[in-house]
């Protein structure tokens, strides 16, 4: 019965492999449906070992649930929310976070948002934050099931569309301004006048982010470089997802290489992973004058500081602190929050909802121009979303003399005229 033994051996190896992936996989697994995101690593967070302190010692305890689509240590979207929750725990006495990470069908086929929320409510949660557009539909369902619990869906628009029950709100950070700064930094640096934008998949959010970068770039190209904005080449290549899936998405390494080969000298990243700055960095090592603007992670420049113009990132702590405080006090009201950055200091993680850090590759001159642009945005003197703005098909979107409303920015139907790349 040799064959049987062989099978047994093979089986054991297989199980072992499964076990190993089950134990070790989570940290490294790319989250399957990441939103575009960015973390704030204000303080290095030690792995949470004892998080289950009983809240009874505090007079006014509040328990809030935090549902993540990816792992809490992904250096990206999910980690940013997790750290936002920790920020609340640190700053609001009596608050306790119930964390559930990796809620996606690939990692946990047996889990559902409803089941997780059932457990959270049973544990005393009076507020549940679902941190992905992946959960948008299901959050409406659980909000109807638990009318006495407050729900927040991040990046969703159910409050805007009127589909949300009264106990469901939406929060999003205003990344568009940071993307405009990113575009401006690229335009200030470029020597060839060609910028490449590494896009994920196409939807309202990614269209408005890429377009904000373009508007920031064309403003700065004209006003600080004294060039004609029409001469700026801004190409968007959508790879098809938030990160590389071999055989399915375009390979971001290849896309970046193609950008650089075609004369692009600044690569802006809109995806979750670091190929943009990695490949550009390798090119810089061979002597080319090229730059990169990464995304998502406050320390993303560390990947290759000498070519990094800066990084836009999300910071959820302050918004979550306000939210939990309001729910605790019982005066939360439904709203659709698109939180503005704290213009006085874009790296102040106790205040800002979206951040921008200047990169080491900015020369003093560039930095002066960029800071002037940021100051202009802050004071309201500059608004890159003011007309005339045409859509890619040539139709007028924002008329001359008027400024885009939040709705017009949020639901941008196409890319902006002047950008190269598909709108849908």
């Amino acid at each position: 019965m040799k064959i049987k033994q062989y099978w047994r051996l093979l089986g054991s190896v297989l199980i072992l492999a499964m076990l190993l992936t089950a134990c070790g996989g989570d940290a490294t697994d790319a989250p399957v449906v990441e939103e575009t995101g960015a973390p704030i690593v204000e303080e290095t967070v030690a792995p949470v070992v004892e998080e289950t302190e009983a809240p009874q010692s505090d007079p006014e305890p509040i328990v809030f649930g935090m549902v993540l689509v990816g792992p809490k240590n992904d250096h990206g979207w999910s980690q940013a929310h997790y750290e936002g929750g920790l920020y609340v725990e640190e700053n609001l006495p009596g608050s306790e976070m119930l964390l559930f990470e990796l809620l996606n069908p690939a990692d946990k086929p047996e889990a559902t948002l409803e089941g997780v929320v059932d457990d959270m409510v049973a544990e005393g949660a009076t507020l549940v934050i679902t941190t992905s557009d992946e959960f948008e539909e299901d959050t409406v369902g659980v909000a109807e099931k638990y009318p006495e619990v407050t729900f927040i869906n991040i990046s969703g628009d159910d409050v805007l569309t009127g589909e949300a029950p009264a106990n469901l709100g939406n929060i999003m950070g205003r990344m568009e301004d940071m993307k405009a700064i990113a575009g401006c930094a690229a335009a200030i640096a470029t020597e060839t006048g060609q910028l490449g934008y590494l896009g994920p998949l196409i939807n309202f959010e990614t269209r408005r982010l890429a377009s904000s970068a373009y508007l920031g770039a064309s403003y700065c190209y004209e006003n600080y470089r004294g060039m004609n904005a029409g001469d700026l080449e801004f190409t968007v290549t959508w790879i098809g997802f938030w990160f590389n899936i071999p055989g399915f998405t375009l390979d971001p390494t290849e896309v970046t290489t193609n950008f650089l080969d075609s004369g692009v000298d600044v690569v802006l990243s809109g995806i979750d992973t670091t190929e943009g700055i990695d490949v550009t960095g390798q090119r810089a090592d061979t002597g080319d004058t090229v730059w990169a603007v990464p995304y998502d992670y406050e320390s993303a420049c560390d990947q290759k500081p000498e070519i990094c113009l800066g990084t836009p990132y999300f910071n959820w702590g302050p918004a979550y602190l306000d939210l939990v405080t309001a729910v605790q006090a019982g005066d939360w009201v439904q709203s659709w929050d698109w939180n503005a950055p704290y213009w006085d200091d874009l790296t102040d993680n106790t205040r800002t909802a979206a951040g921008w850090v200047n990169g080491p590759a900015l020369t003093a001159d560039m930095e002066a121009d960029l800071n002037a642009f940021i100051d202009g945005l802050a004071s309201g003197d500059i608004n890159v979303w003011s007309g005339p703005i045409n859509l890619q098909d040539g139709t007028t979107y924002i008329a001359d003399g008027s400024v885009a409303t939040d709705n017009e920015i949020w639901y941008l139907p196409q890319l902006i005229e002047g950008m190269v790349g598909p709108s849908e």
């Binding site: 199980i15 072992l16 076990l19 399957v32 289950t52 119930l98 047996e110 089941g115 998949l201 399915f248």
Partner: protein, 347 residues
């Protein structure tokens, strides 16, 4: 030393107890209270109807895949491709749900038939690669699994994307008529439960009372002898794969039509692989499969609650079930520990 028959019958419990002890040691290591943790994992779900329904809703596709795998295992086949067969089933069901307009019973009937056909086709492909391309079913199956998941990603992002643009979340929700009726706002569909019970009967009959089952057994024990005795190994291999594929395809249909309400980017998430463990832990015995499968579903669901309550990693449930199977493979047969069976089958 000869082990009495009753003792041998209870032998499968030994690795389970061994694995439990292992887990308890592990819990101690992490500084968690083992009794409390095991209570949350095993007993708490029984107190809660919603939880129980969720356990049962997960049980259905897991059991269907495990039943199919029993057939392929009997034929000596390692049908790793069960995962992909399940995905194909979900694609088949989604295709009908998204494109056909008909009354509910027609739709559901069509969805199930097409899902089973699609799964069977995927299974047949693996079988064909084995018999005609000399590609081992493990490798063929893995390749087809990947292909199936790429195909579903393509459909979600491309032809079946929601009108507001592809977000990779999934297709738009299916029309109400296309969904399996669900029990008490849960994800548990009674129809799928009945179908699973029928499938248990069907597999029991096929393996124990049919000539085909006998041929499969011969094939599984010794393919060469079976061939010399006139069993067409090629044909039976492909049939067994198709049989398993059809059941897995049905499982895939249940995932999209009652667990979800649309095709999502990863409808299976490893249920097929889990089913392989179920069959192993059941020691390839049909009547144990539904219970082991229930046990798996219970532990996995319980460990979700455990994660929330204790911040222990929720893969603990996966570790527990995995360790059990590992223990079974390592010393699951009494004969390996020096005991002799009453009836010696192996020479």
């Amino acid at each position: 030393m000869i082990l009495p028959r009753w003792a041998e019958r209870f032998w499968p419990v030994v690795p389970i107890i061994g694995a439990l002890l292992f887990i308890i040691a592990l819990l101690f290591l992490f500084g968690a209270d083992p009794l409390e943790s095991l209570n949350i994992m095993f007993l708490k779900p029984f107190e809660n109807q919603a939880k129980m329904l969720s356990v049962m809703a997960f049980w259905v596709p897991l059991t269907l895949c495990a039943l199919g795998l029993l057939v392929t295992f009997t034929g000596g086949l390692w049908n790793i491709g069960v995962e992909g067969q399940m995905i194909l089933g979900s694609l088949g069901a989604s295709w009908i749900a998204l494109t056909v307009d008909a009354p509910a019973f027609v739709l559901i009937f069509l969805e199930i038939i097409v899902a089973m056909l699609a799964g069977a086709l995927w299974g047949a492909l693996t079988g064909f690669l084995k018999t005609h391309g000399k590609v081992h079913e493990i490798f063929g199956g893995l390749a087809l699994n990947n292909l199936a998941s790429m195909l579903s990603l393509y459909l979600i992002a491309g032809p079946w994307q929601p009108p507001e643009g592809g977000s990779f979340r999934g297709t738009p929700p299916f029309q109400e008529a296309a969904l399996l009726p669900r029990f008490a706002e849960s994800r548990f569909s009674p129809i799928s439960f009945v179908l699973t019970i029928l499938a248990i009967g069907l597999v029991f009959f096929a393996l124990n009372n049919s000539f085909w089952g006998l041929k499969l057994k011969a094939l599984g024990k010794n393919a060469r002898s079976a061939f010399l005795l006139g069993v067409s190994s090629e044909r039976e291999t492909i049939y067994a794969m198709m049989f398993c594929g059809a059941l897995a395809g049905l499982g895939g249909a249940v995932r999209v039509l009652s667990w979800f309400d649309s095709l999502r980017q990863n409808i299976s998430g490893g249920i097929g692989y889990l089913a392989i463990l179920v069959v192993m832990l059941a020691a390839y015995r049909l009547l144990l499969v539904p219970f082991i499968s229930f046990f798996f579903s219970l532990v996995l669901n319980g460990s979700l609650t455990l994660q929330l309550k204790t911040q222990l990693h929720s893969s603990l449930g996966g570790i527990l079930t995995g360790v059990m199977v590992l223990f079974i493979l390592l010393f699951g047969e009494a004969s390996k520990l020096g005991f002799r069976k009453e009836v010696e089958k192996d020479e």
